[in-house]
């Protein structure tokens, strides 16, 4: 059981002074899936993410990761367990080179992060791995660029590479394609597909093209509660979902993005 | 013989801070006058005066002292208010074998634990203030006290010494309260003093603290209520800035007042003329007479070597228009009379700086701490 499902929430609930943002959600994420979380605005998707990553404490309910209850852990802890999130806005270290960005993530496992007496050269051993990761997201040739100077799409790619450096087993992506031009969208979509090999991905996404093309499973939230759950084909036909989320004008359904 | 031909005098004090008015540029003026009156030119002795601001910081002070002695060939340092700086300079002077004649600092350690063959303490010190004010007031009827004490070494010392005197001369201390230093608002402490019903409220603090406590005492009608304030360290400048209205009735001790006699008046007018109208404080007067005496000693000893001059200064009696005849003890303490003064009512004052009524004169031999009580290694 706990090895079929990598992440499991039971009765997870978040209230903000009276207002229920996430309403007793039972979610099971199967290991190896790309699991999409969709829903109308204000449904509670981001909040749900924040609960999973401990940026918010739940009001009620439990989160278990590979059978272990992690409800009470600190953000940094869950990160070290292998649950890593990306932010709705791109998160990079602007005044470091692309390579250093990735290296910063790798460095943690070295366990020398508090050693203020060690020379920087002690980090060079990490460069090879860093370059591999950069290659994976197609940033190999940018490794010495200062990150500020990268265009938006590439920043997202870099962010992904940094995230991968942590060897995450579970990737949490909040609207990974937001604010991207179409070629960026397709690049990142392929990227996600690619990196999901041997990993589990849980993502919030409004872009139906993306969802339909790569999601194995979809959960639809509305007003904090789950209204549908299943493979895309099935869910997208669910009248509740169409009414609450996709909208009636079937023509524009696909066209939403 | 005079080292490299000139007698170089350094006036080091606070030129801009809290003590700028009691010492500051005024002290430099006083020193100049002393050199004049001594007639250095006539006796073709070359005397130079340099001055610096120690900003009341011991480390600034000691750097200045060191450079003065090592680099600028200064022979003697004068004035130096602020005990911390004074003690630092005292020690360096001893190290470098120069001379240090202090006028501005209050700490009686200069002639006690820290006394040195290179140092003379000229004008006043805490013991003398405590003793003068304490005993004299008790004698004149103020026999129950409450202390308002600045909560740091200096305040504690003043309080300790005064309390001793008060009890010794038959008065009693009803209570005391320690106020933060520097303080802004003293009203709550004053209320405590008031409810103690003590006849005398002793202000064991200095500068702004004293001024503010006096102001606020007036405001809360404490002085009107029949209690008297005794300042343990008050200068004429403080009275000046408080104004008679607020300060009237305040009692404290000084060793110099411009209106003592013809000589003091004459000199003070000269001084005021040179010091844009401001009358001399006892510190500035002290600088004048100490420089004068120092030069006489140099002349007599025919050297400006520190210890020798100091020894000479101690050997010969002092005599000058401001402090009259006096002497310097083995421990370096300059001995002269002290005056218990009370601030006049506005009505009684004939004009600016006519501030004091002399309530009592404490003869020189009683004014200062007895030689044997100072724990000064020099006196065995």
């Amino acid at each position: 059981m706990s090895d079929e499902y990598i992440l499991e929430t039971r009765g997870l609930t978040k209230e903000f002074k009276g207002f229920v943002a996430v309403n007793n959600v039972d979610l099971k994420v199967r290991r190896g899936d790309i699991h999409a979380l969709i829903g109308p605005n204000g449904a509670g998707k981001t909040t749900f993410f924040n609960l999973l990553t401990k940026f918010l404490p739940p009001t009620r309910g439990t989160i278990s990761y590979r059978g272990v209850d992690i409800t009470k852990e600190k953000p940094a802890q869950t990160a070290r367990r292998g649950i890593v999130r990306s932010f709705q806005i791109s998160a990079v270290f602007p005044h470091m080179t692309v390579l250093e960005n990735v290296r910063t993530a790798l460095q943690r496992n070295l366990g020398t992060s508090f050693h203020f007496w060690k020379p920087q050269s002690s980090l060079h051993s990490l460069h090879e791995r860093a370059r591999q990761l950069l290659a994976e997201v197609g940033l190999r040739e940018f490794e010495d660029e200062l990150t500020v100077n990268l265009p938006y799409g590439r920043k997202r790619a870099l962010e992904l590479a940094t995230t991968l450096a942590l060897e995450p087993e579970l990737l949490l992506l909040d609207e990974p394609t937001q604010g991207m031009g179409h070629e960026d969208v397709s690049r990142v979509t392929q990227l996600i597909k690619k990196v999901s090999e041997g990993r589990t991905v849980l993502m919030v996404e409004h872009n139906m093209n993306v969802v339909s093309s790569i999601a194995d499973r979809i959960t639809v939230l509305q007003r904090g509660g789950v209204i549908a759950d299943g493979p895309y084909a099935e869910v997208s036909r669910n009248p509740l979902v169409i009414e609450a989320y996709m909208g009636t004008e079937a023509g524009e359904l696909q066209g939403a993005h | 013989q005079i080292s490299d031909g000139v007698i170089k005098i350094g006036i080091m004090n606070d030129m801009s801070g809290l003590y700028a008015d009691i010492a500051g540029p005024g002290s430099v003026t006083a020193a100049r006058m002393a050199v004049e009156d001594f007639g250095a030119a006539r006796k073709n002795m070359k005397v130079e005066i340099v001055s610096a601001d120690h900003q009341n910081k011991p480390d600034v002070g000691s750097t200045i002292a060191r450079t003065w002695y090592d680099v600028d060939k200064v022979d003697a340092i004068f004035d130096v208010p602020t005990s911390s700086v004074a003690l630092a300079v005292n020690q360096i002077t001893k190290e470098k074998g120069k001379a240090f004649i202090n006028s501005g600092a209050a700490t009686s350690d200069l002639t006690g634990k820290a006394c040195s063959p290179n140092t003379v303490h000229w004008t006043y010190d805490t013991w003398m203030l405590a003793n003068g004010t304490g005993s004299a007031i008790v004698k004149t009827g103020g026999d129950s006290w409450f202390f308002l004490t600045a909560d740091y070494a200096f305040g504690h010392a003043l309080e300790r010494d005064t309390e001793a005197v008060v009890t010794k001369s038959g008065g009693k201390v009803l209570g005391k309260v320690r106020h933060p230093f520097p303080g802004q608002d003293f009203s709550s402490f004053l209320l405590q003093a008031q409810s103690s019903k003590a006849k005398i409220i002793g202000l064991a603090n200095a500068g702004g603290d004293t001024i503010n406590s006096i102001k606020q005492a007036a405001e809360f009608g404490i002085t009107k209520g029949g209690q008297n304030l005794a300042g343990l360290l008050v200068f004429i400048t403080d009275v000046h800035s408080l104004g008679l209205n607020t300060a009237q009735g305040l009692i404290f001790t000084e060793t110099f007042y411009w209106d003592l006699n013809e000589q003091t008046r004459a000199w003070s007018r000269r001084f005021a003329a040179a010091n844009n109208g401001k009358y001399p404080t006892m510190v500035q007067a002290g600088v004048y007479s100490s420089v004068l005496h120092y030069l006489k000693a140099v002349e007599a000893a025919k050297t400006d070597d520190g210890p020798k001059v100091i020894a000479q200064m101690k050997a010969m009696p002092t005599d000058d228009p401001l402090f009259g005849k006096g002497s310097i003890r083995a421990d370096g303490r300059k001995i002269h009379p002290a005056y218990l003064v009370e601030v006049k009512k506005p009505a009684e004052s004939k004009g600016p700086y006519d501030y004091y009524k002399i309530r009592a004169t404490i003869p020189a031999d009683q004014a200062f701490r007895p030689l044997n009580q100072g724990e000064c290694p020099l006196v065995k």
């Binding site: 005044h95 290296r103 007496w117 060690k118 020379p119 | 820290a114 504690h156």
Partner: protein
């Protein structure tokens, strides 16, 4: 806002940190030689003062330059360390090296407590909190018995190093201060380049991201703070022996202001800036001593000018100038 601090600091720092290592090496060599030979021409006590403050400023700079945190209360470390080393040398009769050690350690411990409180906020908040904490320490030192209130601890014996070398000779003393300064400087330099330094930079750049990468950022900031405090303490402890006194001056907030001034003038976040800044300010104070209150006016003016027109500071401007030359 903290991030902005970072970028401003970073932009000045990157030229120094990145790329031109050898430039820094030569600069260091020059500095080492200059300080070694200076006492032959300049008054030694003055040079020692410069070195003490230079180390103090470097320690302070470690925090703003790497941590992006501006402390407005660093005097508390300089001062308390001074008091402890003075007290332990005078009253307990410890040998100088032990006295310095004691002082430094105290500053370190104080740093832990102050840090735990201060690092919870950033930017201006941090500045004000450190300032307030320092003020607390000041009042403590003012009232505590052993500090001698405003008299300070006077005539502190310099004693014999390891019970052998008599430090009352200015040369011996100078040698000690020199070694302390160089060692402290090298340690700071290394810290900047170390793995730890990298993490600090990351935190400064984007803290939430650093957290999400699994870094417990507060602990890194705390370590940075404690390091800075300890080194500031080292400077203070040494200074106390040099001047043979410890006084309130070194715990007063105006001292905290001075170290900011030195660093700002020399160049925030640059390696050598604080040293240059300290040298300039100390010299100024020495030669303007006669000017009295004008000293503060001049200092204030320097602040204003630096902030308005000269933000990179002396060294920062030099680096910028060099890079522009390179660019051409």
């Amino acid at each position: 806002m903290n991030h902005a601090a970072a970028s401003t600091a970073a932009t000045t720092a990157t030229p120094a940190a990145g790329g031109t290592m050898n430039a820094q090496r030569t600069a260091f060599a020059v500095m080492a030689v200059v300080f070694a030979l200076a006492p032959l021409v300049v008054y030694p006590v003055f040079m020692m003062k410069v070195m003490c403050f230079a180390l103090f400023a470097c320690a302070f700079n470690l925090l703003i330059g790497q941590g992006g945190l501006l402390s407005f209360g660093h005097a508390m470390f300089l001062g308390s360390a001074g008091y402890i080393s003075a007290h332990s040398a005078k009253v307990w009769g410890l040998t100088p090296e032990l006295a310095i050690l004691a002082g430094t350690a105290t500053a370190g411990v104080l740093g832990v407590f102050a840090g735990l409180l201060a690092i919870r906020r950033q930017g201006i908040y941090f500045a004000m909190i450190t300032l307030a904490l320092a003020q607390m320490v000041f009042f403590f030192c003012l009232q505590a018995k052993f500090t001698g209130g405003e008299d300070g601890i006077q005539s502190v014996p310099r004693g014999r190093l390891f019970g052998l070398v008599d430090l009352s000779s200015p040369w011996a003393m100078y040698a000690v201060v020199y070694v302390v300064f160089i060692a402290g400087f090298l340690l700071i330099w290394r810290t900047v380049e170390s793995p730890f330094g990298q993490v600090l930079k990351a935190i400064r750049e984007n803290e939430p991201r650093a957290i999400s990468l699994g870094y417990d950022t507060d602990r890194y900031k705390l370590l940075a703070f404690v390091l800075s405090a300890t080194l500031a303490g080292l400077a203070g402890a040494t200074k106390a022996l040099v001047f043979q006194l410890a006084s309130l001056t070194d715990v007063h907030w105006s001292m905290s202001g001075e170290v900011v001034l030195m660093t700002l003038l020399g160049g925030l976040g640059t390696l050598f800036g604080p040293v240059v800044g300290a040298a300039v300010i100390v010299t100024m104070q020495n030669y303007l001593a006669q000017l009295g209150a004008w000293v503060t006016v001049v200092q204030g003016a320097i602040f204003v000018v630096c902030v308005l027109a000269f933000r990179k500071g002396i060294v920062g401007e030099l680096i910028a100038w060099r890079d522009r030359r390179k660019a051409k």
